[in-house]
Amino acid sequence: LVNIMEKRNEARHTYLTIAPIDDDEENPAEWGKNFPLQYEGYRKTVDQVRTRFGGSEAIARTPSQVDPRSVVAQSKLEEDPRLKDLWAGYAFSRDFREERGHAHMLIDQIYTERQQAVQQPGTCIHCHASTYVPMKKLGEGDLQKGFEIINKMPYQEARTHVQHPVTCIDCHEPKTLSLRVTRPAFMEGIRAFKATLGEPNYDVNAKASRQEMRSYVCAQCHVEYYFKGPEKRLTYPWAKGIKADQILAYYDELGHKDWERKLSGAPVLKAQHPEFELWSQGVHARSGVACADCHMPYTRSGAMKISDHHIQSPLLNINRACLTCHKSTEKDMQERVAIIQNNHFEMRNLAMDAVLALIKDIERVKESASPERLMKARDYQRKAQFLLDFAEAENSSGFHAPQEAARIMLKAVDYSRQGQNSLHDH
């Protein structure tokens, strides 16, 4: 299949540009003069439509001085207040919403209440804006250097250097329009990961195939990350592998914690959007099916076939996103996904209850239990909570790799309940 996908893709042509674009052109409207169809799709990412577990709902709000947005996505904390409890003591317990289209990424980051809870570092901007040109400028032509500089800025300063949400130049080389990776953190992360597979010194822009690039450009951002050391360096924790338990082992070895949970006092971790990592464990990835195949399916426009730059939930576009490969009906595909996601949701709920039960138990005996026992229980909490969070934060509700997501949650349940038991005498 990979071969066929590649052949299909290669069969396509190079482009006639009306207005030449240079490597400092951030403005998508300029690119749009040459590629009006892609630009038109790109702009549609402002749309908000909800699916059962994905998409997003447009919730009206009254703009205020601190937050001028008149529409936001629904709050996940309100949908499931247990999350607030889980993240007590961390900025996420203040504000956490369903994610929406790319057009909103910059304002959503600027105005999330998480900014008010704590002073965020410039590192944040890496995935919420077009940073290629700003980083190059800050580094005086050296992308890597610009990256180091922006990481260390306070967020409020960093944000003055960027103009746009992710845009053409973040994914495309302007001459040939071919895909390229522009994020140093991903270059480093994928290098560390490939080394675990016996391929050292991996240079993604030189070595990746076109079909791989159709996922890697997304994996620049849709991945788990942490801020390393006092420089708050953006780092992808992949040096032991990209499966959830391998990432956990990495953090454990490093002794890294994101925060200390209020009350239970455990040194815990927060997982964020590991779409790339989970997808990698599924049968689609194995079969060479890329993010862009489902989230940017080919669409016809007159005589041309273009990639749909309206990146969105494939469930809003099943016909093109799925039926090209699956000779089935829309209804059937919808049901297939529903079965997977509903099963996932059932497990996620059981796992969340289990983690919270452990937290409650730790809180209760915090004063009375021996330090060794408490430490052990807190370690169980750390492990369980991270694994649950990994499955929960992943945005496909299990679809990208159903069995793997279930495996992770089963371990979360096991750790939680064992943690509870460890607090008792036997």
């Binding site: 052949k7 299909r8 005589a303 016909n319 093109r320």
Partner: protein
């Protein structure tokens, strides 16, 4: 929508007032799309429409590129049936091509699939001899339930 197509749609609206517009348009487009070649067995006849390009490509990668042309599968093997089908499909495709009123990805229609299925059987009579007597016509299963890539490599 490209310019050519737009003008045909405009033409259609004009013709729409008179009866026979459908057929008239069909025949018109048919000509435009080198319709005469439609009656040959040359796969190029199909690729005159760019929309058939994908299927042409995937056919060229399939096991049947040397053994069967498009018509070998997509039109009945008897003379009358062959030209009847071609006429119906010719009009259906021209209509779709001209107006753009069709869903993508293209999906084979049940009647077309029946034609294809009959052709598999025509060529491969001996092979399924042993297993086929049990077939009930109502069975939803076709040869391509299993041979998913015959004809068009995926």
């Amino acid at each position: 929508m490209n310019k050519h197509r737009l003008s045909y749609v405009l033409l259609f609206i004009v013709l729409g007032s008179s009866t026979g517009a459908f057929l008239g348009l069909g025949i018109f487009t048919f000509h435009y799309a080198k319709g005469s070649s439609y009656f040959t067995n040359d796969p190029q006849a199909c690729v005159n429409c760019h929309i058939m390009q994908d299927n042409f490509d995937s056919w060229q990668m399939s096991s049947h590129r040397l053994t069967s042309t498009c018509n070998g599968c997509h039109t009945p093997s008897d003379f009358i049936g062959k030209y009847k089908t071609k006429a119906i499909h010719g009009i259906r495709h021209s209509w779709g091509f001209t107006t753009g009123y069709f869903e993508e990805p293209l999906r084979i229609k049940q009647d077309s699939l029946d034609v294809v299925e009959a052709n598999c059987r025509q060529c491969h009579g001996a092979i399924f001899h042993a297993t086929d007597p049990l077939a009930s016509p109502s069975s939803s299963r076709t040869c391509t339930s299993c041979h998913r890539d015959v004809g068009h490599m995926r």
